[in-house]
């Protein structure tokens, strides 16, 4: 199994940390992982993206042009990455703020109303975990228990009390992902 994905959105949406949690979860499953962020001025409120690879084998290139999955959280990223999804691949996006929806017919398209659900749950910060849950529903490459173990590893001790909230958010995402 090799899953090559791009997660892209605005800086501040938790794009990089979602990727990090996925990578940690892969480690918890004894898999190889790589996490390659876009870096630089994009970090400051512009677009941010990260390429995450989870694989049973040694990972070759950490930098890719085509992906098994694209998780897209803003219009700029939609414009940039819709065409990078491999035929038969997955495009998961939050329709909030998307004006030009994806038009490809050779890929599987899913939506998750992450921003809306996060605000309903009263915490915009768990937005990325809702999206992660949606992804896990579509492509169960990482198990929930390993995500929780990964969270424990990646979060500082003082934030561990937030893990149940994150778990709820993942479940929320899993339940609310919609196939287009």
């Amino acid at each position: 199994m090799t899953e090559e994905m791009i997660i892209a959105g605005f800086g501040g949406q938790g794009v990089l940390s979602m990727g990090k949690i996925l990578a940690y979860s892969g480690i918890m499953q004894d898999q190889e992982v790589s996490w390659m962020p876009s870096y630089g001025p994009e970090m400051r409120g512009g677009t941010a993206n990260v390429t995450v690879i989870v694989s049973d084998e040694r990972i070759s290139s950490p930098v890719l042009t085509n992906f098994d999955t694209a998780i897209i959280l803003n219009q700029q990223s939609m414009d940039k990455f819709e065409n990078t999804v491999k035929p038969g691949g997955v495009l998961l996006y939050d329709p909030n703020g998307i004006l030009k929806h994806p038009t490809r017919t050779d890929i599987k398209i899913y939506t998750i109303d992450g921003a809306k659900l996060a605000s309903e749950m009263g915490n915009p910060k768990i937005f990325n975990m809702i999206v992660l849950g949606a992804f896990m529903q579509v492509k169960p490459i990482v198990k929930l228990e390993n995500v929780i173990r990964g969270l424990k590893k990646s979060l500082p001790e003082r934030h561990h009390k937030l893990i149940p909230l994150n778990e709820d958010a993942i479940t929320m995402g899993m339940k609310n992902v919609v196939a287009k």
Partner: protein, 361 residues
Amino acid sequence: MSEIKLMKGNEAIAEAAILAGCDAYFGYPITPQSEVIEYLMVERPEDRTGMIVLQAESEIAAIHMVYGAAGAGKKVMTSSSSPGISLKQEGISYIAAAELPCLIVNVVRGGPGLGTIQPSQADYFQSTKGGGHGDYRLIVLAPASVQEMADFVEDSFKLAFKYRTPVMILSDGVIGQMMEKVIMPEQMPRLTDDEILERYGDWANTGKTKLRERNIITSLNLDSNVQEAHNIKLQAKYSQIEENEVRYEAINCNDAEYIIVAYGSSARVAQKSMAMARAKGIKVGIFRLISLFPFPKKEINALADRVKGFLAVEMSAGQMIEDVRLAVNGKVPAEHYGRYGGVIHSPEEVLASLENKIIGG
């Protein structure tokens, strides 16, 4: 075995330096390697091992702090990225000339000039051919993974002290910024003052005692005959390094008809190209350089006897290709491919280039 961690390459270098018993880090922030000093400042290595971390006023000051501390027998390092490494060249030349051990990390970004902060491999010439003034060499190691970023630190210090010469870890923005699994080595103790006096007391500036002549750290020889003799001594050392310290990884080279020569992140990209080529039935191998100086001339020359061509893949306009061609020595075609100025070539582009320039050509 210590636990598996998920770390950025830059963080791995910093942690490995603490674990290698490094005495001091002197540096100046520059993207894309600022995580090295940031990590060290957060970790407070002074509390862990007694390692000193100092943010200097410039890259120039930082390398001269390294020069001073290395001359005083300590295990010291600095890190920077391309424009900062250009500034350090003065000090690097002095350190090489005065035969001092140290580690310099270059997380390369696109140039020339201020260029871009995106990854590049366009500092190959600067790193392997001199960079600063005069006839000198650095030992240059090119990690291709976060694990190697960590592993090469201790290795570099060993080489630096073995040959009393500066060692460079030549990385790039990809390897510096990406996170991968990494297993850290065990903590090595820093040398005690007594151990330093015992091991390096015959050359280092540790204070002249009545028992010995004064130690002078200098690169100045006003008599050109003396300076020539010093140069000959340095060259002999570099020959010894070329003899003993060549490092590389041959991936699927045994049955290969075509060889991609690459290092660092280009070697990672090329491995994907190799897999794509092999899926199409093209027998491609990767000759991954680990030591850029010393360059594995003999090994590439030997490969040239049994393959049909070489493609040198690097994120530059064509630097390493010159060494590849010298090693291949006209036996078979050797061509260059690479995107540059901060652009990373895709596996597909590399494969297309191999098919067009080498197989088709």
